[in-house]
Symmetry: C2
Subunit: 235 residues, 2 copies
């Protein structure tokens, strides 16, 4: 189903057998023995590759979690941490986008089986924890660093999943990477406001002239920002 | 364990029995029959109140979820939706803060039993979905309303849980409500920038004079905001 140089053929065969049987017999009615038999191996071989039947549904997440953790740890200290966690989320997206047929099939299966939804929640939670752990370190010298890290990690995961779910619901049509980029950009703009109104390119190429904003002291900050943004948008 | 006029005594007795047995025998070794017997009722009575053994560990969440959904639905259309979801999160906090002994006991149990952690993730996910559902409606006329709703809901839940976990880890010492208020204020400041630097009162009581900000067009928005904030903070 998914291929790669690091994966032994038996592992792939087990995943392929599982995803052949689940639609035919139903997830709950398919046993580990059924899967192993169709893959041409014994029950014990199955458990050499997967701790449980649920794990064969999400065969790449352990490796992906390890990849993400390594990617975060390798980040240079002068890189914007918000940018780094967004890039980490894009790594996870690739796992889905690289194999749309498998991803959509699994999405439909997961929607039908409550146990798989719960399993998926635990997986998502582990990604979120990995992001939060990295951010706590990067925010160590800022007030509320753990709070800041947890909220940002949750925001990145929610944005990623919003875009991913939209793509899966549309049967893997369209550009998943573009959708996730858009969603992550939304988070990045909320958290790194120096990219302004979402058109940083435009602002950066404007001439170096001056904007004057006059506001009553009681004016809410959002209104001041809005006024500045429209001043910047006008020629 | 928890008391209230709406709860029949048998339900309370089952919860009390369960939380007496879990530390004595271990969660996995305690059966529904054991719990029912100690509460002085039959197995069938147990299942009249709780669908499973896991549910007796979180006896109030179904009602709390219903309360939160009703609270969100009853919100006036002119109320700031960010404020409304923060207030909804405070409702959930009260569930924990009103009974610190029970909450801490459950926290310790949940940490030890993977199945309960997974169960709790599903509960948290349902709170988050309720918040996101409300926000999608309130943001209906804004671009990216679903994305905005999902990310904000996740932020509120992450902030709430960060504060709640800190309080539970400290064995329920200190003011849980104050900790959650602080965490939610962090989210509110990120999302409703009109509260500016977190001291909205100060700005609101200032005289109605004028602040002039002059910025080069290329100045990042965050720097403009920072300059305005320090101008507002100065006398």
């Amino acid at each position: 189903m998914t291929t790669g140089p690091a994966k032994p053929p038996i592992r792939d065969a087990l995943v392929a057998a599982a995803f052949q049987l689940f639609p035919e017999r139903g997830y709950d009615q398919t046993t580990v023995d059924d899967i192993a038999a169709l893959a041409g191996v014994g029950r014990r071989s199955f458990f050499r590759y997967f701790p449980s039947k649920e794990d064969v549904v999400f065969p790449d997440h352990e490796r992906s979690l390890a990849d993400m953790t390594a990617f975060l740890a390798a980040g240079p200290d002068d890189e914007d941490p918000v940018e780094r966690v967004c890039e980490a989320a894009r790594l996870v997206l690739r796992l889905y986008a690289d194999d749309p047929v498998f991803s959509v099939q699994r999405y439909r299966l997961t929607k039908q089986v409550p146990g798989l939804r719960t399993y998926e929640l635990s997986v998502v939670r582990r990604y979120e924890s990995a992001l939060a752990h990295y951010l706590r370190g990067r925010f160590a010298d800022r007030p509320d660093n753990a709070l800041r890290a947890d909220v940002l990690a949750a925001s990145v995961v929610a944005a990623h999943n919003n875009a991913l779910r939209g793509w899966l619901r549309s049967d893997g049509e369209g550009d998943a990477a573009a959708a996730v980029d858009h969603a992550l950009d939304f988070v990045r703009r909320t958290w790194s406001p120096d990219t302004g109104d979402g058109s940083p390119g435009a602002a950066a190429t404007e001439p170096d002239d001056v904007v004057v904003v006059i506001a009553k002291r009681r004016t809410p900050m959002w209104r001041v920002v809005r006024d500045i943004e429209s001043a910047l948008a006008d020629d």
